[in-house]
Symmetry: C2
Subunit: 360 residues, 2 copies
């Protein structure tokens, strides 16, 4: 088991990464200082069928009495309606201020459960138990929680840190191929924006990763989370540095929002966004052509899309881009690369963005 | 104008109290470091008719472009449905992460707006502009925001500090008599739990306060908020000391919840709760009979109720008491007085509480 600490002052917490550690969830939760008693596991129906009993058994053994709260799988569950259902179930479960809530699942479960835990009784302890690549390499760490609004992704939410993250690599073996590959987009992102060595390692070990070799996966998960932790520790609330984590996300979010979160997975949208951001980086941040090509190649070899579908460049897409919440004035703050492993923030006008989209 | 600072580390902020200072709202907001641009004023229809133009004019002069978001007055507006409407209006107003949201109104407006500001874009700057006695002496300070659930008050919410509080005493002159008196319950609470001198001053100056003498009111508001600030500074998230602020609230909340938030005002419920808590204090915390009588007398002279209506002691009331979120195990944490000006936390069983309710 690989263990490290995320330094966030009073919100500091531990991360465990390893194969098969779901069986130790209860013990690790006690180790994080959470008190046995009532609890809840929030999960989606797909994950529930695979891992709910294992998780429940482990935390029961440690003295917790967990209620199981199931939601339908998929991005549409990040809704105010589903939020309300989870809150209702927490009330029914009789949760108290000290009762831990376990988010067992992928990014959707983590985001929705995180916001519910942040706002139920003004905050109950949250344990992230990510079971997808996206959640294990990225979304379970950093405290961003939220749900979607019809006008945009994550418009409602909170910064709320988990008390513990337990990433069991073994849960990745049951992930459908498309979702597995989706998650690699975020790992590639960490290499691209801040860790050239990791980027090169990904280029070398991609075949082993795609074959879901546990040791290679644990390495990717740990290294990605350590990258993210080092950023989040310095800028918990995204007032500056943390914005670089949005590399590929500005266009990605607009694509997701304008297609009703149904046409492509989050990581696929981010993959397309990263390729376009690399084009913008060549023009506006001095990124070498070869580095842009390396990024495009790695994304492609991971089985991810690299091109914005032509029919997606429409008025809805433009409107979603306008609403992007990283916009501080009439220009959009874009994350660009000056080289592999080094990101910067650059304000671009809609015209400059459109020029790249037109050329792509 | 009376000005002081609430020390909350990175969440520290300023409080201004004075007659007529709504005209300076814009200038004071700039002084708090908030940037001109898009903004929103959330208020209820009653307050809007009286003060929205004055507030809007003042902040416009300072360079803000505020949207006006009106909600129906009253406790039922602290609902998930109204929360959703406020969020929708914020999206429509095109608010950005730096756009201030002004909560212009009483406790309901402050709580609902506070939670909306806490969760929109994971947090936008909040300015509390309390216009009721309850809000000016108590609820605008401390960062507690929230909405109600059918099973209990404030079950959903966040700890979220305002960037500024501007309490204009002049707005109290239009308050209906019942609401005005309601707010005095919270001021009496501060005297009772932590400021014996203030309690004695309230006994002396109650006639001037009830006649709404501006100087007397400013004194009560400032002194109450300073009391609260000193507690909140030491325990922002209610892990210990801050619990004493719930004096009178455990029974008060149960009464409100079990009567559908319609039969009595919050301060009236707290007044009844304080009298019963004084009875419990005589039996369990050594409060002298004379001190309990002084508290009852002051509450009565303020025109507030002192007795739990007989028909309210029913199964719904007991159920609401069981759900109280201050309950850490099967007993309820109660705030009791050992003397006027000194509070302590004591765990009581339902049996011990019932004994006092039966005797009352």
């Amino acid at each position: 088991m690989r263990t490290f600490r995320v330094e966030l002052g009073p919100n500091s917490h531990t991360v465990h990464v390893g194969a098969g550690i779901l069986d130790r969830l209860g013990e690790l939760t006690l180790g994080a200082g959470l008190a046995p008693g009532r609890a809840a596991i929030v999960t989606d129906q797909t994950v529930a069928a695979l891992y709910a009993e294992q998780a429940r058994g482990s935390i029961r053994k440690a003295g917790f009495e967990p209620a199981l709260i199931e939601i339908p799988p998929g991005e549409p569950s990040k809704s105010l309606k589903m939020y309300q259902r989870v809150i209702d179930a927490m009330v029914e479960a009789g949760l108290e201020r000290t009762s831990p809530v376990f988010a067992l699942g992928g990014g959707v479960v983590g985001d929705l459960t995180g916001f519910a835990a942040a706002s139920f009784l003004r905050g109950v302890p949250l344990v992230q138990v990510p079971t997808s690549v996206v959640a294990q390499v990225d979304s379970s760490l950093g405290g961003k929680t939220g749900i979607n609004h019809r006008h945009g992704k994550n418009l409602i939410g909170a910064f709320y840190q988990p008390r513990l993250i337990v990433a069991d690599i073994a849960t990745l073996k049951t992930l459908p191929e498309r979702e597995f590959r989706e998650g690699l987009a975020e790992a590639i992102k960490y290499g691209a924006i801040m860790d050239a060595e990791m980027f090169a390692a990904l280029e070398r070990s991609l075949p082993a990763i795609l074959a879901r070799d546990p040791e290679s996966l644990a390495e990717v998960v740990e290294r990605s989370l350590r990258c993210k932790a080092s950023v989040v520790s310095r800028d918990e609330r995204e007032s500056g540095l943390r914005k670089i984590l949005n590399f590929g996300h500005t266009i990605g979010h607009a694509l997701e929002a304008s297609t009703g979160y149904e046409r492509c997975l989050h990581g696929e949208a981010v993959a397309i966004g990263m390729v376009l951001a690399a084009d913008l980086s060549r023009r506006h941040a001095g990124l070498q052509d070869e580095d842009a090509r390396r990024l495009g190649r790695l994304i492609e070899q991971a089985g991810l899309p690299t091109k914005l579908p032509a029919d997606c460049r429409n008025a809805r897409f433009n409107k979603a881009l306008h609403l992007d919440k990283k916009r501080a004035d009439q220009r959009i703050e874009f994350v660009l690369l000056s080289e592999i492993g080094r990101a910067l923030i650059h304000k671009l006008s809609f015209k400059e963005i459109a020029a790249i989209l037109d050329a792509a």
